[in-house]
């Protein structure tokens, strides 16, 4: 805990560290969310196709 308090209080590079963490995690979450949504969309399309196939 001491380390963190010192880190916040020293303040010299706090913004740099925080912004880099934010950027990296936002990039990784972005790719995660994008690929998840893409896969879900494809799954929906696939289910619809299978339904149409069985109707025939």
């Amino acid at each position: 805990m001491n380390y963190f308090l010192n880190f916040v209080n020293s303040g010299d590079h706090f913004s740099y560290v925080l912004s880099s963490y934010l950027i990296v995690f936002s990039i990784i979450f972005l790719i995660f969310i994008l690929s998840n949504s893409k896969t879900k969309k494809l799954e929906k399309e696939f289910v619809n196709l299978i339904k149409n196939e069985e109707k025939k």
């Binding site: 805990m1 380390y3 963190f4 010192n6 880190f7 020293s10 010299d12 590079h13 706090f14 740099y16 560290v17 912004s19 880099s20 963490y21 950027i23 990296v24 995690f25 990039i27 990784i28 972005l30 790719i31 995660f32 690929s35 998840n36 893409k38 896969t39 494809l42 799954e43 399309e45 696939f46 196709l49 299978i50 196939e53």
Partner: protein, 240 residues
């Protein structure tokens, strides 16, 4: 063992079992790692507090190289054995690798501002990492450029094999051109003088990123398999 998973459908069943587990592990490790990053590790003697950027910068850099070598291996495999699963993996790896490389470059340049005084230096390692990003972008572009998927896979695997040349340059650029621009930075890690209190968060973050990578990869591969299935169904309908 590997060849029994070679069938995309069997692979898909495996994915559905593993996927939630890897994501959970990744998030738990991430929380532990963040705790160690901010609360459990001292500032560096020379670099001060900016050393905390290292805990995410270095894993990202490692993964940008590792993902490329996965792509390269899969490309060689797909060219030699003409296997669909290798194509699927290399196709879904490319955007993830590009993201990790971008993260590496951005966090590195944020680290560089307080330490070196500039956002960017035309140093051998930085340049080669940038080239890696461009190669990743080229792979993504090729994957989407051709109407014929199998052709696109073959072309992108050829490009990936050409791009292997870049990997050793990135890896050893610090040793080869160390005298030119680079102040003591990354080569520092290779010396064993790094303290265990700083090594611990680094490794925890690395494993967390690894599981993140695996879970994203599995999601993407599942999507690719579904897309291929949709194509087959459409094609069958067109023929019959």
């Amino acid at each position: 063992m590997i060849f029994s998973l070679a069938n995309p459908l069997r692979f898909q069943r495996l994915i559905e079992k593993i996927e939630p587990i890897t994501l959970n592990i990744a998030i738990i490790l991430l929380l532990i790692g963040l705790f160690f990053c901010f609360f459990g590790s001292p500032p560096d003697y020379l670099q001060g507090e900016t050393v905390r950027i290292m805990y995410i910068h270095v894993p990202c850099a490692w993964f940008s190289l590792m993902i490329y070598s996965i792509i390269a291996l899969c490309s060689i495999f797909s060219i030699v054995f003409k296997h669909t699963l290798a194509d699927l993996i290399s196709r879904s790896c490319a955007p993830i690798g590009a993201c990790f490389t971008l993260a590496t470059l951005l966090s590195g340049s944020i680290w560089g501002k307080p330490t070196w005084g500039t956002w960017w230096v035309w140093d051998a390692r930085l340049t080669s990492e940038l080239v890696l990003l461009v190669i990743y972008l080229g792979l993504i572009i090729i994957n989407n450029a051709y109407e014929d998927k199998s052709k696109a896979d073959r072309y992108s695997s050829i490009l990936a094999i050409i791009g292997i040349i870049n990997l050793p340059i990135i890896k050893w650029s610090v040793d080869w051109w160390s005298t030119l621009h680079q102040p003591a930075s990354i080569s520092k890690f290779s010396s064993p003088s790094i303290d265990s209190s700083m090594l611990l968060p680094l490794f925890i973050m690395t494993f967390s990123f690894l599981f993140f990578f695996i879970s994203i990869l599995l999601v993407r591969v599942r999507g690719e398999i579904i897309q291929r299935k949709i194509e087959v169904i459409r094609f069958n309908r067109m023929v019959s």
